[in-house]
C-alpha cells in the first residue's frame, strides 16, 4: 500500500485541473445557494417551526445526483478508454491502491464542496442578529450525515466508472443508481405488494434503507450506529465491486 498516497495526491491534482470538477462545483454551489436564498425568503415571510439547517439539508439529494457523477465519471472509465490504465497497472501498484486512491480523491472533493456551504450559514450568522437561526445541533448532524452518506454515494460513483469504458455511461449509471437509492427507497415502502405478511422480511430491509429517515434522525441528533453501518458496509461492498470489476475486465480484455 505504499503507493497509495502518491496516487491520492496525483488524483486530487488531476481533479483540480479538470473542468468537470469546476462545473460540478459551480452547479452545486449555485443550486444550494439558490435553495438557501429561497429558504431565507420563506423565513423572512413567516416564522417556521424548524431551524434553517434542517430544511437546507433536506434538499441534499438535488446536488448529489448531479455532483457525484460529475466527480467520479472520469476516474476509471477515461483511463480505460485512453489506455493509461494499462500503463498504470504495469507499475508496482496494486488495483486496490488505484481504486482506493481515486475513491478518496473524489470523496475529498465532495466533502470540501459541502464544507464550503458552511459559508452560507456563516453569512447568516453575521447578518442575522437573531441567535435562534443558528442551531448548532441540526447543523452538525446535517454535516455528519453528508460526510457519512457521502462515503456510499461516491463509492457508487466509482463503481459505475469501474465497469464502463465510457464517461457518459458511467455518469448516467451512477446517477440512476443514486436516484434509485435515495429517492426510490423513499417510495418503495408504499408499494402494495410489500404490505403482504410474506414480504415482511423484505419490508424491514427496505424500511432500514430509508435515506431520508437517516437524514431526519441525524438532524435530530440521533446517531444510530445501525444507519452508520448501512453506509459503511455499502461503501465497502461498492469498493470491493469496483476492485473486482477492474481486475475481471483485465482478465477478459
Amino acid at each position: 500500500m505504499k503507493h497509495f498516497f502518491t496516487i491520492l495526491n496525483h488524483e486530487i491534482r488531476i481533479l483540480l485541473v479538470s473542468p468537470s470538477t469546476y462545473i460540478a462545483a459551480v452547479v452545486f454551489l449555485s443550486v444550494m445557494g439558490f435553495i438557501f436564498t429561497m429558504m431565507m425568503d420563506i423565513y423572512s415571510a413567516a416564522a417556521q417551526e424548524t431551524t434553517p439547517a434542517v430544511i437546507f439539508f433536506q434538499y441534499f439529494w438535488v446536488p448529489v445526483l448531479v455532483m457525484v457523477p460529475l466527480l467520479t465519471m472520469k476516474s476509471i472509465a477515461e483511463e480505460r478508454r485512453l489506455g493509461t490504465l494499462e500503463t498504470l497497472l504495469t507499475t508496482p501498484v496494486s488495483t486496490v491502491e488505484v481504486v482506493l486512491g481515486k475513491y478518496f480523491a473524489a470523496y475529498f472533493l465532495y466533502i470540501s464542496l459541502w464544507a464550503s456551504t458552511g459559508g452560507f450559514f456563516y453569512i447568516l450568522h453575521r447578518f442575522a442578529r437573531d441567535a435562534r437561526f443558528i442551531d448548532l445541533g441540526p447543523l452538525a448532524g446535517g454535516y455528519a450525515f453528508i460526510a457519512i452518506s457521502g462515503l456510499l454515494f461516491v463509492a457508487i460513483g466509482i463503481a459505475a466508472s469501474a465497469i464502463s469504458r465510457n464517461q457518459a455511461v458511467a455518469a448516467l449509471f451512477s446517477g440512476a443508481a443514486l436516484l434509485a437509492l435515495i429517492v426510490g427507497s423513499n417510495f418503495l415502502p408504499n408499494v402494495e405488494l410489500l404490505h403482504n405478511d410474506v414480504m415482511r422480511p423484505i419490508k424491514t430491509v427496505i424500511d432500514y434503507a430509508q435515506v431520508f429517515q437517516h437524514l431526519a434522525d441525524f438532524s435530530h441528533g440521533v446517531v444510530d450506529t445501525r444507519q452508520v453501518l448501512f453506509y459503511l458496509s455499502g461503501t465497502v461492498l461498492a469498493l470491493i465491486f469496483s476492485i473486482f470489476s477492474v481486475e475481471v475486465k483485465l482478465l477478459h480484455s
Binding site: 489506455g83 500503463t87 498504470l88 507499475t91
Partner: protein, 332 residues
Amino acid sequence: MPEDPTPPPAIEVKNLVKSYAGVAAVSDVSFTVKPGEIIGFLGPNGAGKSTTMRILTGFLPATSGIVNLCGVPVASNPDAIKRLIGYMPENNPLPEDMRVTEYLYYRGRLKEVPRRKLSARIDEVLELCDLKRVRHRIIGKLSKGFRQRVGIAEAVLAEPPVIIMDEPTIGLDPHQILIVRDLIASLRGRMTVLISSHILPEIEVTCDRVVIINQGRIVASGTPNELRREILGHCAYKLELAGEVAALAVALAQVETTLVITSQSEADDAGFRTFHLTTERDDPLGEELLRVLSSDPRFRLRGLAQERPSLEDVFLAATRRTWEMVDTPAKR
C-alpha cells in the same frame, strides 16, 4: 552452494499459449533473450505480438506456458516483475493534462525510484531523450515525436533490466525515427530491449536478433543474416546484359551449376536486359561471373551486383509460407 556464473536469460518464454474463447491468439511460442540484447519482434497485424508483450509484462495472464523475466516467473510473482520492466504500449497512451516533468516525477514515484535520486534521474532521462526544451510543456500539446520520446523516457526512467516497447516508431517522420533508433541503440548492453515494429529497415539496423511471429506461432528467429540464409536460402545477383538469353543460361551453368535465371526484364533501347539470378552457393561468385561474362564476345555486360535481400523479403517469404501451411486459425 557455488554461485552460478552465468546470469539467467533476461526473457525466457517456453510454450506460451493464450487463447480467447477457443481461438488461440498465441500458440506454443518459445524464445529466449540474453541480457543486454536488442530483440526485434516482427509480425503482421493480429499475429500475437501485442498479446505476447502484454503477457511478458504481467498485465495479461497466459492460458498456459512458462515466462521468466531475469529468472523470476511472471505468473507467480507479478509484483516483482513490475519492478523489473519498463513498458511502452502501442499508441503510447499518455495523460493529456500533465506536464512532462510532472508526469515523469509521478511515474518515478510509482516505480519506487528514491525521492532523492528522482530529480537527478529525470534530468538524465530528459537529456537522453532530448526533451529539455519541452520539459514544462503540457503533454497534450506536444507533437507525436516528442510524445514518443516521453514514452521512451518514462520506460527507461527507473533503469529496469528489461524494456518492452510496442511499436515505438509508429507514425514518426524519418528524422524522428533516426533519433529514436539511436536512443534504443544506446541502451544496448545496459538493458535488454524487446521492440515490435513494422518498420523493417529500422529493425534490421537496430536489433541483434529478430523473431518473426505469424498467426500466433514463431515462424523464424535469429540474426538477420541467419534468417536470410534460412528463409531465402540462396544468394542473388543482378545482371545488366545484352545478348542471347539461351546462350547466357548455358554460360551461367558452366560457371556454377546451381546458378539460374529467375527473372528477366524487357530489353531497353540499347538492348540491355536486367536479369535476376539465384544460386545456392554461399560464397561470392561476383569475380568469376565478371571474368567469364566480360571475356565472352557474345555478351555485353553493363552491371553486376550481389543482391542482399532485405529483411522485408525475409519477412514476406516467412509469413507467406505460414499462410500456405496454416489455412484456418488454430482451434484449441
